[in-house]
């Protein structure tokens, strides 16, 4: 014979267990986060290129220093690249530097690099792909419901570079001028090519000769 107290304790336990397994509690903020509003790609790209990238200049690595480090111990450099700046074999770097223009060609501007064996170019014609988006490590695929939106961001950043950053630069750049730049660099981990480097410009400032 169970005592009255024990009987009620068992009933309370039974009701508690039933209640615990009948109700599922989810944070509203987590639920809402699964619903993405229509993305304003143009505004997103503008904010990234003209505000967030210049603010990230402190995180950019000097291009000469990067070339030297990759030439010396590529594995150490590549292993330190976070997931936000890699896509499989492709590694992305935000680089900065200042160099003299030695040639203004149709598809690029050739810069005076420290090593004779390195051709350092700023691309002025072929601005494609994801380097401009991935270099700063600020935008991740996890922020988007689908990769099409993610890729649309790259296209819009590239379009802004072609339409707003390059026209004044191409108009003014002359051999002998010095250019100060922030740029995106893509390196293939398994086949790094450091003899002919083409940078995607994110910010360019000319200091006339």
């Amino acid at each position: 014979m169970l005592s009255g107290g024990l009987k009620y304790a068992l009933i309370v336990l039974a009701v508690g267990l039933l209640g615990y397994n009948s109700v599922y509690v989810e944070r509203l903020s987590e639920y809402k986060s699964g619903v993405q509003k229509t993305l304003d790609v143009k505004a997103y790209a503008q904010e990234y290129l003209f505000k967030k990238v210049p603010q990230s200049v402190g995180k950019a690595v000097n291009i000469t220093e990067l070339i030297s480090r990759v030439s010396g111990n590529p594995k150490a450099v590549f292993n330190a690249v976070p997931e936000s700046r890699r896509a499989g074999d492709q590694l992305y770097f935000l680089v900065k530097g200042e160099a003299e223009i030695v040639e203004v060609a149709e598809e690029y501007v050739l810069l005076n690099s420290s090593g004779d064996s390195v051709k350092l170019k700023i691309a002025t014609e072929y601005i494609f792909g994801n380097a401009s988006r991935n270099a700063a490590g600020l935008i991740s695929a996890d922020q988007f419901d689908n990769t099409m939106d993610f890729n649309n961001v790259s296209e819009e950043i590239n379009r802004l570079i072609r339409s707003q950053i390059l026209p004044p630069f191409k108009k003014e750049a002359r051999k002998g001028d010095t250019v100060n730049f922030i740029a995106a660099l893509e390196i293939r981990e398994t086949a790094p090519k450091l003899t002919d480097i083409e940078l995607i410009p994110l910010k360019l400032v000319i200091k006339p000769h």
């Binding site: 169970l2 039974a14 267990l17 699964g34 993405q36 994801n130 099409m148 790259s154 296209e155």
Partner: protein, 312 residues
Amino acid sequence: MKQFKLLVLLLILFAGCSGNNQKSDEPKKVAIVVSTLNNPWFVFLAETAAKKAKELGYESKIFDSQNNTALESDHFENALASGYDAILFNPTDAAGSVSNVEKAKKAEIPVFCMDREINSRTAATSQILSDSYSACVELGKLFVDTLQKKGQYVELLGIVSDNNTWNRSKGFHSVVDNFPNLKMVAQQSADFDRNKAMEVMESILQAHPQIDGVFCGNDAMAMGAIQALVAAGKSHVKVFGFDGSEDAVIAVSEGKLAATAMQYPKDIAEKAATFAHEYFGGKRDFPQKLPIAVDVVNKSNIDQFTAYGKKE
């Protein structure tokens, strides 16, 4: 008697509450649900996932959705009812497959998407996806160089409800559309299907007999397009595919296909099976979308590749 009934009730309650606990002695079961087994690339993906799951000590079964979301939904219900512990999933439809994955999530069964994406960043445990866009940017550059920046071309799209279709098309056009002397004369879907691509290409050639290039969203369609072009005496037309399937790799080496993009289904399938293994071990922090790099393959580097991957 009352006390006995109360104890029985409590035992039932405890048994019911512990119903989700794993049967400790039995090996865990992994369901592999793929969009279609009518394409050798997906057969390879599914079989590799099954092989890896077996290596890790799990039972597995492959379910063919035949590119039909209703059938895919049945497979999910069967998998959940049959007590599968994880689902390695190649979806049929980026939007239409989300509800199936959500059903599994509600049942606390992890889902790892392979190759194809679903339009959600909360439903699946992780999505392992080829970087189709970047690869098609590279294919686009090669296309421009091969056609020397001028000529007429055709694009064959895959299944229009699949994000890979549009990521590939957009990557390609992000480059090619910058060259005004390259003119697209036709753009049609052939559903990633070889026979359909051949029929579509035959029909396009009636209206546009003078073309210089064809860009296809996968290798199966590229092979179908080549069949139609050869039959029409136009084997000089440059055809580009995507996938790195066995017949495409052979066609590149024989000069019949200008280029393809090598996805790595082995890496994708093994990563998905390994993620499931890690999930069973207690890991929960997986990347929601994990891009896998894709390599362009043409005559200049074909010696480095074999079907579905690089030479060992």
